[in-house]
């Protein structure tokens, strides 16, 4: 039954991709196809990264309302990037090969987030409200610290930064996309092998440990996976705070299961579908590219409030 739903998702995704790819081709076919491949590929990668990282984070934090972005992972990525630009000075940064830059960003993000969030998860394990509070404060602190450093950066360096600070689906860089894709595939291969033990983690630390699961090590590894995925999506399109929340809720209500082997692919595909359809709608019908993130944030944010007010923060 559940597998059928996965197939349905997969087929709709393939159809949407095919339509968006071949739709309305008249002149400059090769050129347009290349542009489209990069754009669609980018959205697929971002969608999968957001879907998978959200479900993983909800598993290790034992709740269904927090997402990496709500906890400030995206802001942390931007902060790390700002710091790198500041310390390496904009020129070298702008002249570094795209791949190296991206990997360097991902590595700093990995270290910073694992250090921070291992601590946060330990300290707030039993208290979701506290965790939300910490996440909000983290987001604020990271953002204002980024702003502070940006003041110190000179204008030409700032231009480098500005392009990565806000969510935008337009300018996905081809080189970055390739490294991002590779990281995504690596992480997903690891996650696929851990699906079953991830199910056991749902029992919580204590019970999982009594079943012989090395919970703390696994939690650490999953945190690493999440930071890489957040780096991937933030590097490609910038921060999208509330998409993950929408996606995980949809995945849960569609699949009606706790099993990661079904939830993770479902979340990845739903997330990619939302991005592709939304992007197509706004770009082609409404001809307003920049408003897609605004709408996703608005709907997702509303949904977050509804969940909070319904007391579903368990």
């Amino acid at each position: 039954m559940s597998d059928k739903r996965l197939w349905a998702l997969f087929i709709s995704l393939v159809l949407v991709v095919a339509v968006l790819f071949f739709w309305n081709l008249t002149t400059h076919i090769a050129f347009i196809l290349e542009l489209r491949a990069i754009k669609i590929g980018g959205l697929l990668v971002v969608g999968a990264a957001i879907g998978v990282s959200t479900v993983l984070f909800q598993t290790i934090s034992n709740n269904r309302i927090l997402t990496p972005s709500i906890m400030g992972f995206d802001s942390l990525y931007l902060l790390m990037q700002t710091c790198l630009i500041f310390f390496l000075s904009g020129l070298t940064y702008a002249h570094m090969p795209g791949n190296l830059l991206f990997l360097l960003n991902t590595l700093t993000m990995l270290i910073a987030s694992v250090v921070l969030f291992t601590f946060v998860l330990k300290a707030t394990r039993h208290d979701i409200q506290l965790m939300i509070l910490v996440g909000v404060i983290f987001g604020l602190v990271f953002r204002s610290f980024s702003t502070f450093i940006q003041r110190l950066i000179d204008p030409s360096e700032f231009a480098v930064l500005q392009s990565v600070m806000f969510a935008q689906f337009g300018g996905i860089n081809e080189k970055e996309l390739l490294s991002a894709l590779m990281l995504l595939v690596l992480v997903c291969c690891w996650v696929a092998r851990k699906c079953q033990v991830l199910d056991v983690m749902l029992l919580g630390r204590r019970t999982a440990k009594s079943l012989g699961v090395d919970y703390d090590r696994l939690q650490f590894m999953v945190l690493c996976a999440i930071s890489i995925l957040v780096s991937v999506s933030t590097a490609l399109v910038g921060p999208i705070i509330f998409l993950g929340l929408l996606v995980s809720a949809l995945a849960h209500s569609l699949m009606k299961t706790h099993r990661h082997a079904l939830l993770l692919p479902a979340a990845a595909m739903i997330s990619a579908l939302i991005l592709l359809l939304g992007q197509a709608l706004f770009e082609n019908l409404l001809e307003r590219q920049s408003t897609l993130t605004v709408v996703i944030e608005f709907v997702g944010g509303l949904f977050f409030l509804v969940l909070l007010s319904k007391g579903k923060i368990k």
């Binding site: 598993t59 034992n62 709740n63 269904r64 039993h126 079953q196 033990v197 199910d199 056991v200 749902l202 029992l203 919580g204 204590r206 019970t207 440990k209 009594s210 079943l211 012989g212 699961v213 090395d214 849960h252 706790h258 368990k314």
Partner: protein, 251 residues
């Protein structure tokens, strides 16, 4: 046999367990009793390796538990904690199924599935098996967790206040089942319990803890006296024998 020697445990600056040395016999039901906050759960968690031992040694059948692999421990000892927080939406059958994880590590065989079905039946959970854990009552959840530990089929079973939330019928049937496991299958069971009558009727061995120290330990008939229990709880408890059975009266 589990032997605990010179175990001391503190949280922050508070001494929770103070130099505990005690042995828990194999193949018997041991009741771990004592007032609220005495340190029973803390002791049980340390034995079950949920928290690291600070000072002292706990050994299981002669092997230091701190040096045993956790996958190995899971095959030898099952635990039901006092607080069963499960936030995520798991179904009863899935929960009980996780009890076989130590054996199958993600690849359940027919044997594992049969064991789960049998446990669901034995703990009267078949009707509930497709319900979500957050949509059943506290007592039903408690039974599901005990069933999960039961399918683990380990030599040692540790239960922290498993009678909480259970009505008389299920409490009786759980105690009978534990008795049966100890007698027929030679399982060793440690149970934290407040109901002295159930403890007197079913436990072979008593360990009493008070303010982080062992107050007394020994065979039920030797140590469970009116004086010792009254002193343990700072409340009057009378043990009365009738028809060869002991009863505790405290009001």
């Amino acid at each position: 046999m589990i032997s605990v020697s010179t175990l001391t445990h503190s949280l922050g600056h508070r001494l929770i367990l103070d130099d505990i040395s005690v042995e828990i016999p194999k193949g018997k039901i041991t009741a771990l009793i004592g007032p609220n906050g005495a340190g029973k759960s803390t002791l049980l968690h340390l034995i079950a390796r949920q928290n690291p031992v600070q000072t002292g040694v706990i050994s299981l059948d002669g092997e230091d538990i701190a040096k045993t692999a956790s996958t190995d421990m899971a095959l030898r000892m099952a635990v039901v904690a006092q607080e069963l927080g499960v936030a995520s939406r798991l179904r009863v059958r899935d929960l009980v199924g996780f009890g076989r994880w130590p054996q199958h590590q993600g690849r359940p065989t027919e044997v594992d599935k049969a064991a789960v079905e049998k446990a669901l039946e034995e703990f009267h959970l078949l009707d509930l098996s497709d319900r979500f854990l957050d949509e059943i009552s506290g007592g039903q959840r408690q039974r599901a967790f005990v069933a999960m530990a039961y399918v683990q089929d380990t030599d040692w079973l540790l239960l922290d206040e498993p009678l909480n939330n259970l009505d008389i019928r299920y409490a009786k049937s759980l105690m009978a089942k534990l008795r049966n496991m100890a007698e027929e299958k030679n399982k060793s069971i440690v149970i934290v319990i407040h109901d002295l009558n159930y403890a007197l009727a079913n436990a072979d061995y008593f360990i009493a803890v008070k303010e982080g120290k062992v107050a007394f330990a020994g065979e039920t008939s030797d140590v469970a006296t009116s004086e010792s229990l009254s002193e343990l709880y700072d409340a009057e408890v009378n043990i009365i024998e009738s028809d060869g059975k002991c009863f505790a009266f405290h009001h």
